[in-house]
């Protein structure tokens, strides 16, 4: 399998504060890869650096064979890289429909965007019901679904998800994850998923990395990590 995303020796931080220490990982086409780790481990920082929201201080990020290190974030969606940030980050004073349309801001004409909007609302019927409502008024689960649908609007090759399960009921987590699986199959989507909900994440993912204090300390097939005693003890409380 071809590697879609490769990260080598990535260092990044905020001002004087270094957060990531030589992180290396790769994601192959069609995979679901999870990055798990505790609060403050640097998971969001890692995704921000890949998305271009944060300039790395060292290392290299390549996506679809091109070097994208330090590339401006707004060039991501057009090139096939989409991200669902922590909490969804919908535009609260725009309607659900406008939020979704903005997900397709870069690469499609109005007609294609409208068709894609229809597909998104087929995948998430609740969003069709709520299309005229302000996004700020959605429930937690609806918000997360809208955020995923919005990211899908640009037909990304890689979707990065930052803790989609946070604050949701187990049932809702199940639903979101099952949609992600469907999208992977149906759209040949590749997923890089950040989670604190280690049990669920390892169920969904093909492979996983463990991030601890800004460094990758463990990695491998998700099924193996699920059996790993250290993981069970530290992250799953078993």
């Amino acid at each position: 399998m071809m590697s879609l995303l490769t990260v080598e020796g990535l260092c990044a931080g905020y001002g004087e504060l270094p957060v990531l220490h030589e992180v290396s990982l790769h994601v192959a086409e069609g995979e679901i890869v999870a990055i798990v780790g505790a609060n403050g481990a640097g998971k969001s920082t890692l995704l921000s650096a890949i998305a271009g929201l944060l300039r790395p201080t060292a290392g290299r990020i390549s996506f679809r064979g091109a070097d994208i290190t330090g590339r401006a974030a707004h060039r991501g969606p057009g090139a096939g890289l989409a991200m669902v940030p922590e909490g969804g980050k919908l535009f609260p004073f725009l309607t659900v429909e406008d939020n979704l349309l903005l997900g397709g801001y870069t690469n499609e004409d109005a007609k294609a965007r409208a068709a894609r909007l229809d597909e998104a609302m087929d995948t998430f019927p609740i969003l069709r019901e709520r299309r005229g409502q302000l996004a700020g008024k959605l429930s937690g689960g609806e918000r997360q679904m809208c955020a995923v649908a919005r990211a899908m609007m640009s037909r990304p090759a890689l979707m990065m998800l930052d803790e989609p399960s946070v604050g949701l009921s187990p049932l809702m987590v199940e639903r979101i994850f099952s949609v992600v699986e469907t999208l992977v199959r149906r759209e040949k989507l590749t997923v890089l998923l950040v989670e604190q909900n280690v049990g669920e994440a390892l169920e969904l993912a093909d492979r996983a990395y463990v991030l601890d204090h800004g460094a990758i300390v463990l990695g491998g097939p998700a099924a193996e990590l699920r059996r790993d005693a250290r993981i069970r003890e530290t992250y799953m409380g078993l």
Binding site: G52, A73, H74, G78, K89, P92, L94, Y105, L134
Partner: protein, 296 residues
Amino acid sequence: MGTLLSVLLSGLLLGGLYSLVAIGLNLIFGVIRVVNFAQGEFVMLGMYATFVAYNLLHIDPYLAILLVFPLLFVFGILVQRFILQRLQNEPMMQVFATFGLLMLLQNLVLAVTGGAAYSIRTPLSSMAIAVGPVQVSVPRVIALAAVTAVALILQWGLRNTMTGKAVRAVAQDRRAARLMGIDVERTYMLTFGVGAGLAGMAGALLTPIFTLSPQIGGNFILAAFAVVVLGGLGSVPGAYIGGFLIGMTEALAGYYLDPSLKQAAWFAIFIIMLIVRPTGLFGLAGAEEVGLRVQE
């Protein structure tokens, strides 16, 4: 009865002028979150540009809008790109920078003109039409019509075009906007350009009404700030309607209280509003953190 009508009409027309200046100011504040103290000076530049176009090129002041808007649009883009963007991470410095721009532009124009008072007299500028027993000045009616058109077009564009939606997205969450593929810096340039262009347009519309002076921006900017606070920070309809409220207040207070109290009256409203309802008439509660409030 005739007097009240006359006072109300003059308030309405004055309000149109205030709205005209306030809309650009509010657009810039709502999206970029910069209070542009130099907005009045942009209006002043628009007036002088119109004056020059009239005297040198013999272009009618209203036709000059086609020249002055693009001129100020480009000027606004340059200010955003080379001054405000460089101070992106220091909001206080941005405010000082616009204040510096205010001083610079005023003194520059003062130096060039030597402080001479210019004015334009076209056939239209002294024309009046009768509304019942009251005569109203045609240039003020034109300004009122223009600001109405601007408010409608702007509101329509913000709601219905992809660029408009992108502008609102940037106002609400710039990080998320970047993740949509929106170039935030370009959106800021566009917004500041349009805000400055509208100030220029306001200048062209004011030129047949007022005598030019380098300090004339000050006459409008204080009222525009009151309008913005009254109508709601970032709201286009708020700036539009707020203008009329301030204009009416000024006219009523000027006639029924005392002419010298007219500005005091809207400052009183301004302060009461800040205390009672800081989001303004059209502001949405909780929206002060996310910027532009376009009514849904």
